[in-house]
Amino acid sequence: MFSLRDKQIAKQVISKIKKMNVNLKFMHVCGTHQDTLVKHGLDALLKDCGIEIIQGPGCPVCVTTPREIEEMLMLAKKGKTVATFGDMIRVPGETQSLQNIRTEGYDVRTIYGIEDAVKIAKENKDKDVVFMAVGFETTTPTTASVLLKNPPSNFSILCCHRTVPNALKAILDMGEVKLNGLIEPGHVSTIIGTKPYEFISKDYDVPQVITGFEPLDLLMSIWMLVKQIKQGNAHVQNEYARAVHKNGNTKAKEAIDEVFESVDMKWRGFSVIPQSGLMLREKFEKYDARKKYENELAELKDKEFVEPKGCKCGELLRGLLYPKDCPLFGKQCKPGSPVGPCMVSIEGSCNIEYRYSKK
């Protein structure tokens, strides 16, 4: 029986990659990929084959900005019930996290998905419930699907949804890190399909492979990237065909298009990235917390927000550093007392590095 964790096959694949005799740098943008690479020691084995792999801006919690967290903190302090995913609640804004203010008595709820937040709104008609909608294309259709079903009027979202392809373009345009190939995120691609990545290979001559999350998925995809490079090719290949179809999930894409439109958006560590975020279309503005609570959020409007002092998450998210290059790593910054989001989120590169280096 073939298993995607078969050690013997993994060894064979690694030996084939090693014989290709290369010196390359690849980027992926997915915390689950990073987890697989570090957990199974593939990062070290591949380094030995001349292949360096770095995590770029691939963790939606990590790229959420201090401003967005401050907006949620303000809404909670103004008496709203705020709800979001567990990791997001622990990321500090300028000074505090949502978790910190929960201990001060504000109504902050940890939820598994947006339907839980709608349920809170339905069961508490006297409360205004705001869901912090973070996530890439994998998560966006879940928000869209709920908004298309007329949730109650005491429910709204603070939209922080971002889209992956133009962030990759930004990395390549900035040119701070020389990349020979991109390992594309499997579950983002489940929704968007293979086409939205094509311009990257065409315009930047960079090979890309859409990749699953098992150890052999990653090894296979790396072999596919190296092979493209050896053959002088640069196109989009799909290693994760069992979950990614060429056109993606059409129903999900239609729901996203109906509810959201593309906007320029700031990502942590980056300036504003053109067409890399989403906002609600006019038809859905009654669910837009930024419009609904414009007065409550007014004092934040012209404020500048800075990232935590000494925190290197920005450079990490741009692929310039590894967690251990940050002077705070494992000292002032640990999962129990995180300074930046990459140490908070279980998909953040610092958190992953810390967890597995302790084992």
Partner: protein, 76 residues
């Protein structure tokens, strides 16, 4: 965040909005299925309480054949 877990649809509610998914480890959960077309017995990928894709055996075999092809190739 983009983690998605595969499971099997064992029951679909009358309005076809939700289904019960069995993850094979004794865990069963109610999942929103409005983003996919599913039948009982299908395997789906679940993310944040929603099924986001139906897994297809034919496509899974394609990945395996890619591996076989690679392993049978001579080193270049």
């Amino acid at each position: 965040m983009c983690l998605a877990i595969p499971g099997k649809i064992i029951e679909i509610d009358k309005n076809k909005e939700h289904a019960i998914v069995d993850y094979g480890d004794g865990t069963k959960r109610k999942v929103n299925v409005t983003l996919v077309d599913v039948k009982i017995g299908n395997y789906v990928l679940v993310h944040a309480g929603f099924a986001i894709e139906v897994l297809n055996e034919k496509d899974a075999l394609e990945t395996l054949s890619l591996f076989r092809e690679m392993l049978s190739m001579e080193d270049e």
